[in-house]
């Protein structure tokens, strides 16, 4: 019942808040819900902490962009194909990186993301290099874009929910908890790691293609960025709560919300210099969250409740 209510609320929200700026913020939140949830599937549930999710985001975006500039196809075709190119890239990266564990895997994915960024920067004949790709946006109003990303986000969370509540979920968690024990039970760990990666990269790639359609402009330093995409995806997951269904969604909301709150200096109420520190506020939040709420806002919700509602009388049993 809960999720349906949230969905209806989200569907009605842009009609109520009919302001371009806030609709843009909501679209951003939804994009990060998709990226964060995809990262969470691979990292939180399957235990493979990837520092290179920008690779999938970027390749989805560039699929849409290049299909437009080279083949004169509408970039919406990129939405259909972006996810699939991301899956192919995912299988490739998985082949290279899954033989590694823990921090080595994290850094190998980081290196993969960076290599893709450098290729996109330098293969100017194919990707226009640092100039980036500019396309005409199809819709003037933000509403159609909002509903499209809302459907993608709902689909993403839905698929993750279905996956985690099936046998697949058990396989993923067993790989996270103890890969060798899982393998000794006869679970094909490589196969299931790849399945997790394929689902994760599909949605991230689709989000990337959506980004191309929505923003109308991409370049390697934006969509393949280590700091702005890969690491933000991780931070969204951490703040919200790894290995929870709604964690990344809350994390996305907090991330965009806190940064906008500071960037606008609490909507004009605080002194001007506050707006300089918007990313700093987020950074401090991350540090504090890892220190005190290591399972994120959603994961450590019982802990938060205990602190907030400390006055409630404790029944001794």
């Amino acid at each position: 019942m809960g999720p349906i209510f949230v969905f209806i609320l989200a569907a009605v929200l842009p009609l109520v808040v009919n302001h371009d700026y806030y609709q843009h913020l909501m679209i951003l939140v939804l994009i990060w819900v998709v990226i964060g949830s995809s990262w969470n599937l691979l990292a939180g549930y399957t235990g493979q902490v990837s520092f290179g999710h920008a690779a999938f985001f970027g390749i989805g975006a560039y699929t849409a962009g290049i299909l437009n500039t080279k083949l004169a196809l509408s970039p919406w075709w990129g939405m259909a194909f972006g996810g699939f190119t991301a899956i192919i890239l995912g299988v490739l990266i998985g082949y290279l990186c899954f033989r590694l564990r823990g921090p080595y895997f994290a850094l190998a994915t980081l290196a993969s993301g960076e290599i893709l960024r450098l290729i996109a920067n330098n293969w100017t004949d194919f990707t226009e290099g640092m100039v980036g790709i500019l396309i005409m946006q199809t819709f003037v109003s933000k509403l159609p874009y909002y509903y499209i990303i809302l459907c993608i986000a709902a689909g993403c969370i839905g698929v993750i929910y279905l996956a985690m509540n099936s046998k697949l979920g058990y396989y993923f968690v067993s790989i996270r908890e103890d890969q060798d024990a899982a393998a000794s039970l006869g679970i094909n760990t490589t196969l299931y790691k790849n399945v997790s990666l394929m689902i994760s990269s599909f949605f991230t790639g689709t989000a990337g293609a959506f980004y191309m359609n929505y923003m109308g402009f991409i370049d390697p330093s934006v969509v393949f960025s280590l700091h702005h995409i890969s690491i933000q995806a991780i931070l969204v997951g951490i703040i919200g709560g790894v290995a929870t269904l709604w964690g990344p969604a809350i994390g996305a909301l907090v991330m965009v919300g806190i940064q906008e709150l500071f960037r606008t200096a609490v909507f004009g109420l605080a002194p001007k210099w506050v707006s300089q520190g918007h990313a700093l506020a987020f950074g401090l939040l991350v540090v504090l969250t890892i220190l005190y709420l290591s399972n994120g806002l959603v994961g450590d919700w019982p802990k938060i409740k205990k602190v907030l509602f400390r006055k409630a009388p404790q029944e001794t049993s």
Binding site: G102, P103, A279, S294
Partner: protein
Amino acid sequence: MLTLARILIVAGLILVGVPYMLVGIGMVMGTMGMNDLFQMTQTIVIGILIGGLYALIGIGMTLIMGVMGIINLAHGQILMTSMYVTFVSFKYFGLDPYVSILISMPCLFLVALFIGRYLLDPLIGRESILPENQVLMTVGIGLCLTEIMRFIFTSNYQSVRTSYANKAYYIGSVSFNYPLTIAFFIALMLTVGLFVFLMKTDIGRAIRATAQDKEAATLMGIPQRKITFSTYALGSALDAAAGSLLLPVYYLFPDLGGPFTLKAFVITILGGLGSTVGAILGGLTLGVYESLGATFISMGYKDAVGMVIFLLVLTFMPGGLKRVTKI
């Protein structure tokens, strides 16, 4: 003696042998000429000079990784902070960057001590879903450092113009860039100093013991937590020195840290985890091959060389150079 010989042979092979071999192949294939042979010497020289600085960064990271077992993803940001400290002492106190090492090293040592004691230490042994909590904390710390610097100094590019910035002296027709050469020798002195510290002093031995076997070291009476964050501070101090040395040759801006963290990582993996000699070799190798990539492929792909080396090492030689040099 055998170990030293082995190390020198491997170093010679990688740093000098392979590049010249590549030129030789190129000459045989007709795509390269005598000009490229001379260019190769210059390229290797520049590569070794800057490799010395990379080695300093790599040693810092490998020390931290050997003792704490975590990847310090804030390494590049500490470098960047040290560069800002040096910049401030140059701009407002007129101190030469090489003298400012004496300021930036203690400064960053204290900052890192604070970070280790209050931010990283609480996370050791804490139960959480993802075991990489400490690594993610360093990501958060790096982010905070970057943003604090951006808050204070804005994102503008800063640079330091010293009187000797553009000078070079020549041996034959090979030019040695003045600032880089001085930096190389200071880095050399610091590395030798570090070796003496690690081999001869009690604390140095305690650090090496902790890196080898934490439990046994505790049984020997070595205070775990103190050594852990002291090593973090020591690694960061070396990093800070590298930052001061790099300032004359780099433009300074808050986002400078990221690529350096990656380089430090490549060097550490290349050299083998926890191996200081490996980090030195790794740093020199990365310097030389980046230089080769910049000269013979293109400037744009310079950073890609490091990434490719990284993936190659992870795929084919997971122990890093430690397997070959055995130290």
